[in-house]
Subunit: 347 residues, 2 copies
Amino acid sequence: MKDNLVLSYLENYSKKTIPLFNYFFNAKKNEARKIGANPYDLLKQFIKTAILGKKIRGALMVLGFEIAGGKKLEAIYDASLFIELMHSGLLIHDDVMDNTDLRRGHPSLHKQYSPEHLGKSMAINAGDLAFYLSWEKLMNSNFPTERLILAGKIYSEFLTRVIYGQILDIVPDNNKTISKTNILSKLRYKTAEYTGVFPLLVGAILGGMKDEKKLRLLKEYGLALGWAFQIQDDVLGLYGDKEKTGKPVGSDLKEGKKTLFVYYLLKHGNAKQKSFILSILGNKNVNSQDVNKAQKLFKEIGAYDYVIKLGWDYVKNGKKAVPAITSDKKLQKILTSFIVFMMERTR
Amino acid sequence: MKDNLVLSYLENYSKKTIPLFNYFFNAKKNEARKIGANPYDLLKQFIKTAILGKKIRGALMVLGFEIAGGKKLEAIYDASLFIELMHSGLLIHDDVMDNTDLRRGHPSLHKQYSPEHLGKSMAINAGDLAFYLSWEKLMNSNFPTERLILAGKIYSEFLTRVIYGQILDIVPDNNKTISKTNILSKLRYKTAEYTGVFPLLVGAILGGMKDEKKLRLLKEYGLALGWAFQIQDDVLGLYGDKEKTGKPVGSDLKEGKKTLFVYYLLKHGNAKQKSFILSILGNKNVNSQDVNKAQKLFKEIGAYDYVIKLGWDYVKNGKKAVPAITSDKKLQKILTSFIVFMMERTR
C-alpha cells in the first residue's frame, strides 16, 4: 500500500501526542471545574471531539521540524498540540456557520445543547476557548523565545487569512461570477494555506530553518499539499463513506457550496442538468435520491474526472519541490508519500 | 470635577493611539482588499466600532507600564492596541450570545448583515479576526521577546477565564441557587479580571516589573477596579443614558441576567414584587413601562443603594493598595482617581 509510510507517521504522531493531550486537558479540566459546572461541562464536550481528528496538521508540524534538523522531538510534539487545538476551534465555528450537524462522527458542538441559541453561543465560546488554549500551548512551549515569537507572528498572519477565507466561503456567490480562479482562491484561504503551508512552516521555524530558498520551496510544497487536501475533501464530501469521514454525504450541496464539481457542471452541462443542480444547491430539503442523482451526473459529465485530475496535478507539482527541500532520503520519501496520501485518503 | 485627571489620561491615550489604530487598520484594509470584497467589507464594519470604545483597558495598560518604570512610551502605546482589539472581539461575540442590537451607538455587528444567520456568521468571523489581529499586534510589539512571551502567557490565561465567565453568564441560573457569591464570581470572570487586572499586569510586565509583592498588590487593586467597573456597568444598564452608553436601557432584564439588583429584590421583595421581576426577566417583550417600573422598584426596595454601596466598597478597598504599588505621587493620584472614576462614569 502506497500510503503505509504516512499512515505510520500519523500513527506514531498520535501515539506520541495522545498522552500529551490527556495531560494538558486534565490540567485544564481541573481549572474549569473550580470555576463552575457549566465551563467544566463545555470543556469536556470540546475535548471529546478535539482528540478525534486526523491530526494531519500536527504531524506536518513535526515533519517541518525534522526537515529543519530540529532535535528536541519531545518539545515539538508537545508544541504541536497548539495547531490541533486551533484546528478544532475553527471547525466548531465553521460548523455553526455551515449548519453542519455531524463532526468526527459526533453531533457538532452547537448541537450538544438546546435550545438552538444556547447551542450556538456555547459553540462560539468553545471555539474561542480552543483558540486561547492553542495560544497558551504555543506560548508555553520549550523553545527559544525568538523562535516562539516568530511562530506567533506566522500563526496570527495565517489565521487572519483563514478567517477571510471563511468570509469568502459563507457569503453566497453570484452564479455569474463563479470562476475556477475564485473557487481555488477560496480553497486556498479557507483551507490550503493553514493545512499545508502553516504547519510545515511553523515546525521548520521552531526547528531553526533560516534558508530563504528552502523556506520558499517548503511553502510551495505545502500549498500544493493543502490544495490536494481540500480537493479530496470535496471529493469525500460527495463520494465518501460517512462512517469514515464522520460527515454526512452531500452536505456541500445542501449548504449551497459552489465546489469545483458545481463549477464544471454549470460550465459544461445542458440546461436541464444545470437547472437540476441549481435546484438542489443550498436546498435544505435535499434527500439521498437527489444526492445520488448529483453523484451520477458529476461522473457522467466529466466533473469528477476533472476534479480528480486537478488534485493529482497539485500532487505532481508539489512532489517536484521535494529534492530541494531536504537531502535526507527518508524525509524525502515521507514528503512524497504525504502529498500522495492527500488524494488517496478515505477519511 | 473629581475625574478630570482620568478623563485627561483617557483623552491623551486616545490622542496618542488613534493615529496608531489608523495606521494599523489601513495596512489591514490593504491586505483584506486583495483577498476579496467581502472580507474587506467586514473589516471596515469591524473598524467602524472598534475605534469607538472608551479605551479604559488600553489606558490601564499604559498606566501599568508607567508604574513599572517603563520608558518606551511609544512602544507601549502601539502594543496596547492589542488589548482594545481583543476587547472589541469579545463584545462582538458577546452581542451575538446576548442578542444585543446596539453597541457603541451603532447596530451590533451581527445586525449589519441579513439574513440573521449570515449576520451571526459574520460576527463569529469578526470576533475571531479581532482576536488574531490582537495577537498579531502583541507578537509584533517592540519589546524584548522574553517579556512578550510572558505577556502572551498572561493573555491566554486571562482570556480562558473570560470565556469561562461568558459560559457562566449565558447558561440560565436556577432561581434557587442564585447567591451573591455566585453573581460576584460571574462578574469577576466575565469582566473584572480582564478589565482591571489584565491590562495593568500586562503593562507592568512589559515595563519590566518583577517585584512579586508589587505585582500582587497591582492585581488586588485591578480586581477591585474591575468589579467597580462591572457594577457601574450594571447600574448604567438600568439607569444610564442610552445616548452616552450606546446601549439600550433595561437590556439586562430582557436578556434575563441575574444582576445584583435582581438578587437583592428576590431576597428582600414581597411576593408581588418578586413575581413582577420574574415576569419580565428574560422576556423579549419587555417595554419601557416595565423598565420604568423595575427602576422604581429597585430604588424603593433598597437594591439600588445596596449595589451602589458595594461598588464604592470596592473603590475604597482598591484605593488602600495604591501607596504600596508606587511611590510616584502623580501615578498614585491617577490610580486613586481611576478607581473612583469607575463608579462615577456615565458612559
